[in-house]
C-alpha cells in the first residue's frame, strides 16, 4: 500500500508547511525609522513596483537611513489582513485603504489623526472635497484621498454613428439605443449584471432615491421608497421587461462577462470605469479606437450622480513613525507622481487639477464632477462587499421575485447592517 505511505508523507508535509513564520518591523521611536512598512492593496504588478521604487528613491532623499518595505495585500484578503493587524498589533505605518472601508477603520480607532499634518501640506488644497469628506469624522481628518474611479457607459462610436444614435440622455433613450443595437447588430444591447452595486447606485441616485439617510445618529434605509423601487424596476427590467440585457449576466459582476463581450464586439454597451480601458485592450484591441464613453443618464435627463470608488492613504494609529509615514504620503501623492499613477493605473487622481494624458478618458473627468458618497457608515463595507445586499436583491428580482418584497427585505438589512 505504497499509496497510503504517500498520503501520510503528504500529511506530514502539510503539517510542516502550516507552521510558517511571521514578520515584524522594528521602528525606532520618532524621527527617522529604520524601516517604514507600507501596505498596498491588490496583487501588485511589475509596473506598480517600478513606480513605487521611484517613490522610495525620492522619499529617501529626505530619509536616507529608512528602508521602505512594500507589502501587497490582495483585495479578497483585505478584511482578514487588517483584522490580523489589529489583533497582533503588527500593522503598517502607511496603508492604502478602500474608500468604502475608511469609516469602519476610523470607528475602530485604527487610523491616526492627521488633521494638522494635512493642513500643513500645501498640495492638499486641490484635493477632491467630496472624497476628503469621507476621510473625516467629528471634524478630524484620518486619511487623504489618493485615486478614484467613476463609472460611465462604454459604447461603440462606430455603431452609434452607423445607426444614427446620439449618446442617450435619459433612461428611455438608453433603452431605445439598446434596442436598436440589438436589432441591427445582433448582439445584446446593454449589459446589466446583478452584482454591480456601484452602477446600480447611479440609477437609484439618478431617480432622486437613496440607499439610506441619517436620522439623528441612526441610518434609516430608503430602499423601500418609490424612487429606489422605480430605479431597481428599471434596471432589472432591462433583463426582464425590455429584454435588451441578457440573462447570462445574472449573478455576475461586470468582469465576469460584460467586459470581455464588449471588448470582443459581442455587446453593445456596458457600465465600467476608466481603468477598464487597459484591461479591455488586453482582451482585444482590434476595435479599441471605436470605444467611447458617455455618462450614466438620470431618468429625465442629465448625468446621474456616480459613486466615486477608490483608495485613500492613511497613517496607522499604532505606527511609531507617524511623521515619516505622512512624509511618505506627501511624496507618493505629490502632483508629479499622482499624474504618473493616473496614467499607469487608469484611475483618476483625486487632485482636481491632475488629468489623464489619454483623450479617450476625458469624459470621466466630466462624469467625476457629479460624485456622491455612499452612506458614511462603518457598516457599509459589510452591506456592500460581504452581504452584497443590493446585488442579491437585484438577482432575485431579475429571476422573477417581487421587487416590493425583495426591496423591503433589503431595506431591513440596510437598517441592521448600517448601524453596527
Amino acid at each position: 500500500m505504497r499509496f497510503f505511505k504517500f498520503a501520510a508523507t503528504a500529511t506530514a508535509i502539510a503539517l510542516a508547511v502550516t507552521a510558517c513564520g511571521g514578520d515584524g518591523g522594528e521602528d525606532t521611536a520618532g524621527g527617522a525609522p529604520a524601516r517604514l512598512n507600507v501596505w498596498m492593496m491588490g496583487e501588485g504588478t511589475p509596473e506598480q513596483t517600478a513606480f513605487l521604487d521611484g517613490v522610495e528613491a525620492e522619499f529617501r532623499k529626505k530619509y536616507p537611513d529608512t528602508d521602505v518595505v512594500i507589502k501587497y495585500v490582495p483585495w479578497p484578503q483585505v478584511a482578514t489582513t487588517f483584522q490580523k493587524a489589529v489583533a497582533s498589533g503588527e500593522g503598517p505605518d502607511v496603508t492604502e485603504i478602500g474608500n468604502t472601508d475608511v469609516q469602519s477603520h476610523i470607528a475602530q480607532g485604527n487610523l491616526a489623526d492627521i488633521t494638522d499634518k494635512v493642513k500643513g501640506w500645501s498640495e492638499a488644497a486641490t484635493l477632491n472635497k467630496t472624497a476628503l469628506a469621507n476621510d473625516q469624522a467629528d471634524g478630524k481628518i484620518y486619511a487623504v484621498p489618493w485615486y478614484g474611479g467613476v463609472r460611465g457607459v462604454w459604447y461603440r462610436t462606430d455603431w452609434f454613428a452607423e445607426l444614427d444614435i446620439a449618446p442617450p440622455k435619459t433612461w428611455a433613450e438608453l433603452v431605445a439605443a439598446a434596442k436598436k443595437i440589438q436589432q441591427e447588430k445582433g448582439v445584446p444591447g446593454i449589459g446589466a449584471p446583478s452584482d454591480q452595486t456601484n452602477a446600480i447606485l447611479s440609477f437609484i441616485w439618478g431617480n432622486g432615491g437613496e440607499v439610506a439617510v441619517k436620522e439623528g445618529d441612526r441610518w434609516v434605509g430608503r430602499l423601500d421608497q418609490p424612487q429606489a423601487k422605480e430605479a431597481i424596476d428599471f434596471y432589472t427590467g432591462l433583463v426582464t421587461v425590455e429584454k435588451v440585457a441578457p440573462e447570462k449576466y445574472v449573478g455576475k459582476n461586470e468582469l465576469q462577462g460584460p467586459q470581455q463581450d464588449f471588448a470582443l464586439g459581442k455587446l453593445g454597451m456596458y457600465i465600467d470605469g476608466s481603468w477598464a480601458l487597459k484591461e479591455m485592450k488586453k482582451i482585444s484591441d482590434k476595435d479599441a479606437d471605436k470605444w467611447g464613453v458617455f455618462p450614466i443618464p438620470a431618468k429625465n435627463g442629465g448625468n446621474a450622480p456616480v459613486m466615486a470608488g477608490g483608495s485613500d492613504l492613511a497613517v496607522w494609529e499604532n505606527s511609531k513613525a507617524k511623521d515619516a509615514a505622512f512624509d511618505y504620503i506627501t511624496v507618493l501623492n505629490n502632483k508629479v507622481n499622482a499624474a504618473k499613477w493616473a496614467d499607469y493605473s487608469g484611475f483618476s487622481s483625486m487632485f482636481t487639477d491632475v488629468k489623464f494624458t489619454d483623450p479617450k478618458l476625458a469624459p470621466f473627468t466630466e462624469i467625476a464632477a457629479n460624485t456622491k458618497m455612499v452612506p458614511l457608515s462603518a457598516g457599509w463595507g459589510d452591506f456592500e462587499q460581504n452581504k452584497k445586499v443590493i446585488p442579491n436583491a437585484v438577482k432575485a428580482i431579475m429571476q422573477g421575485g417581487s421587487s416590493a418584497e425583495e426591496l423591503a427585505k433589503a431595506n431591513k438589512q440596510a437598517d441592521e447592517l448600517l448601524n453596527p
Binding site: T11, S104, Y249, G251, N253, L264, Q385, K387, K395
Partner: protein, 325 residues
C-alpha cells in the same frame, strides 16, 4: 487532508487486529504510544486547541474590539439562537447536505469503477491511467475552480460551445448564452462535477490497493461457478473490501461537507441563494470589516457536530460489522 493518514491506518490495522494469531500474554508496552506521541502533540496543538477555542467563542461576542485585546463577553446561547432563526442557515444546511449526498455517491461509484478498471488493465496502461487521474487529484482546488468556471462560462466556455454543436434534438438549443451559475441547482451541478472530478482518483487508487490484496482464487472460483461481474462484485469484492469502502465513505462525507474554495470562486458572495454552510460561516465571521467571530464559531460548531454525528454512526456500523464477521 489532515485526517487521511490516521483514518487509513486505522482501516489497515483493523483486519490484523481481528486475526486471532498465536495467543500472547498482554503486556503493557510504552513504545507504540511513545512513537505516536509527537504526531498527537502536533495534532493537538494545530487542531484540538483551535477546536476548543471555537467551542468557547461560539458562546461569546468576539468582534474587532475583542481581537484588539478587550475581554470577550459571554452571550450564552445568543449566537446559536441567532443562526437557528436565520432562514439562510437552513437553506445553506439543506444545500450542504444535498450536495454531500450527490457528490459522495458519484465519487464512490465513479472511483470504484475506475479502480476496477485499473485492476484489469495491463501494467503499462494502468500506470498511464492512474497517472492521468492523479493529475486531477493533485490539482489545487482553487485552480480547478477557476478552470471549471471558464469551462462553464458564457464567453468562450467550452461546455456551452460543445452543447450548442450537438444536434438540437439531443440536448435542445440555445446553449450559447446558458448561464451555468444563475440558480443554485445549476451552480451545484457544476460544483458537483468539479468536486467529483477531483476526489474520485483517491477512491479509485484506494479501491485498487484493496483489490490487489484480494486472493485471486476467490474470484476465479466465482467465475467457474458462473457468476457474472455484477454478482462477483457484490458477493465477493464488496464484502471483502467493506472496511476500505467505509473509510472512503466517511472521508468523502467529511470532505464534501466542508467544500468552500470551489463554491467561493464559482458563485461567491453575490449569490447567497447558493450558499453552503462553509460560505455562510465565512460571510458571517470574516466577510466584512466588522468581524463576528462568535457567530462564525457557532456555525462552525454546528458543522463539526454534524460531521461528528455522521462519523460516529459509520464508525459504529464498522465496529458492529467487525464483530459479526
Amino acid at each position: 487532508m489532515l485526517d487521511t493518514a490516521p483514518a487509513v491506518r486505522a482501516a489497515e490495522g483493523r483486519p490484523g487486529r481481528r486475526d486471532p494469531g498465536p495467543a500472547r500474554p498482554r503486556r503493557h508496552r510504552p513504545w507504540p504510544y511513545l512513537l505516536i506521541a509527537p504526531t498527537l502533540a502536533v495534532i493537538a496543538l494545530l487542531m484540538f486547541w483551535p477546536m476548543a477555542q471555537i467551542a468557547l467563542m461560539s458562546f461569546q461576542k468576539v468582534g474587532n474590539r475583542q481581537l484588539a485585546g478587550a475581554p470577550a463577553e459571554s452571550v450564552g446561547l445568543e449566537n446559536y439562537r441567532s443562526i437557528l432563526s436565520d432562514e439562510l442557515f437552513w437553506q445553506s444546511l439543506r444545500s450542504t447536505v444535498l450536495f454531500a449526498v450527490a457528490a459522495v455517491t458519484l465519487t464512490l461509484v465513479l472511483g470504484t469503477l475506475v479502480g476496477l478498471l485499473l485492476n484489469r488493465l495491463s501494467r503499462r496502461m494502468a500506470a498511464l491511467v492512474s497517472a492521468g487521474v492523479m493529475v486531477a487529484w493533485a490539482t489545487p482546488p482553487i485552480t480547478a475552480a477557476i478552470i471549471f468556471t471558464w469551462l462553464f462560462g458564457t464567453t468562450g466556455g467550452v461546455v456551452n460551445w460543445l452543447l450548442d454543436l450537438l444536434p438540437d434534438a439531443l440536448v435542445g438549443g440555445g446553449w450559447t448564452d446558458y448561464n451555468w451559475f444563475a440558480t443554485p441547482l445549476r451552480t451545484y451541478t457544476v460544483l458537483t462535477v468539479c468536486v467529483v472530478w477531483q476526489s474520485f482518483p483517491f477512491v479509485a487508487v484506494s479501491v485498487l490497493a484493496g483489490l490487489k490484496s484480494l486472493p485471486a482464487e476467490l474470484l476465479e472460483a466465482a467465475r467457474v461457478d458462473g457468476a457474472g461481474a455484477w454478482r462477483a462484485f457484490w458477493a465477493i469484492t464488496f464484502p471483502m473490501l467493506r472496511p476500505i469502502f467505509l473509510v472512503l465513505l466517511v472521508l468523502s462525507v467529511i470532505w464534501d461537507f466542508k467544500v468552500f474554495t470551489q463554491l467561493f470562486v464559482m458563485s461567491g458572495m453575490a449569490n447567497r441563494d447558493a450558499f453552503n454552510l462553509s460560505l455562510y460561516a465565512y460571510s458571517e465571521a470574516f466577510g466584512g470589516m466588522n468581524a463576528k467571530l462568535g457567530l462564525g464559531s457557532a456555525i462552525a460548531a454546528v458543522l463539526t457536530l454534524l460531521l461528528l454525528a455522521v462519523t460516529a454512526v459509520y464508525v459504529r456500523i464498522m465496529v458492529r460489522q467487525g464483530e459479526v464477521s
